[in-house]
Symmetry: C2
Subunit: 129 residues, 2 copies
DNA sequence: CTTGACCTTCCTGTCACTGGAACCCTCATC
DNA sequence: GATGAGGGTTCCAGTGACAGGAAGGTCAAG
C-alpha cells in the first residue's frame, strides 16, 4: 500500500507519516521505484500513534508506548507510569488555563466594550491594580 | 538601566527581553558602549507584556494590545474583542484537555499497574476497543 | 593588571509537524 | 510519441516563543 492510501486509512497526513519514518517510529519497505510500501503492521502502528497523539502523548512517549506495546513481556505498571505522568501534565495545564480563564473572564466582564477608551483589561495589564 | 536590572525587576529573562526588542515590541536606547538602556516606559511595557503573556495572549495579541494601550483614542470594544477571542481559544483548549483527561483517566483506572503484561491502555491505543 | 560579572551578537535547538519547490513514476488519452 | 493528471520522492524553510551556548567587548574592584 502506498502513502496516499495509508494517509486516507489512518487519517494522518502523508507529511506526518513521512516524518514518523524520519524519526524511526515506523519502517515501511521500499518498492523498486522508491515508493514507500506499507504493511499491515505499519498501518497498525500508525493507528496506534494517531490515537496516542490524540491523547496528547509526546512523540517520545509514543516511542516508549510503542516499544511497550511490542514487548510481550512488559509490565503494565510501566505503561501506567507513563500514562500517569502524562495525566499529571494535562492536569497542570488545565489548571493553568483555568486560572487564566478566570482572570480574563473577570476582566472581560468588567469591560464596557463600547467606543470609549476606558478599559479595565488594559488597566490590569498596565499594572494599575 | 541595563538589561540585568530590568530582568530582575520585571521577572523576565534577559533573553526574552532581547527577543522582544528583536521583534520590535520594545525599543530601548543604546549607550555608547552598545549596552541597551531602558527607560521607565520600557520597563512599563515589559511589565505589560509579562502580564499579557501570563494570561496566555500570543505575541501578536500582545502587539495589538500594546498598540491599543498606547492609543488614547482606542475603543474598549477593540480590546474586549481581542480578549474574547483569546478566551474562546482558552476554553477550547480546556475542553480538549478535559476530554483527554477523561479518556486517559478511565484507562489508567482500568490498568492494574502490576508486573503482568495485560494493559487496557495499550489495548485501547492498539485499537482493540 | 587581572578577575569576574556584566554586556553584546550570532547560531543552533526546541516540538511536531506544514508548506513548497523541484523532480520522478505511472497510467490514460490524443 | 507527446501530454497531462495525479500519484510519489527529497530537501529546505518556517512555525511560536523563546533557551542554550560560544566568542568576544566592557567595567568596577582589588
Amino acid at each position: 500500500m502506498n502513502i496516499g492510501d495509508v494517509a486516507t486509512r489512518t487519517g494522518l497526513p502523508a507529511k506526518t507519516i513521512r516524518y514518523y519514518e524520519d524519526i524511526d517510529l515506523i519502517k515501511p519497505l521500499r518498492d523498486d521505484n522508491g515508493y514507500r510500501v506499507f504493511r499491515a503492521q505499519d498501518l497498525h502502528k500508525l493507528n496506534f500513534l494517531g490515537r496516542a497523539r490524540a491523547l496528547g502523548f509526546t512523540i517520545e512517549d509514543c516511542r516508549t508506548l510503542l516499544a511497550l506495546y511490542e514487548d510481550e513481556t512488559r509490565a503494565s505498571a510501566d505503561v501506567k507510569h507513563v500514562a500517569r505522568d502524562h495525566l499529571a501534565q494535562i492536569d497542570a495545564k488545565i489548571s493553568d488555563l483555568k486560572a487564566m480563564r478566570d482572570t480574563l473572564g473577570h476582566l472581560i466582564d468588567a469591560c464596557a466594550g463600547d467606543d470609549r477608551p476606558d478599559c479595565p483589561i488594559l488597566q490590569d495589564l498596565g499594572g494599575k491594580s
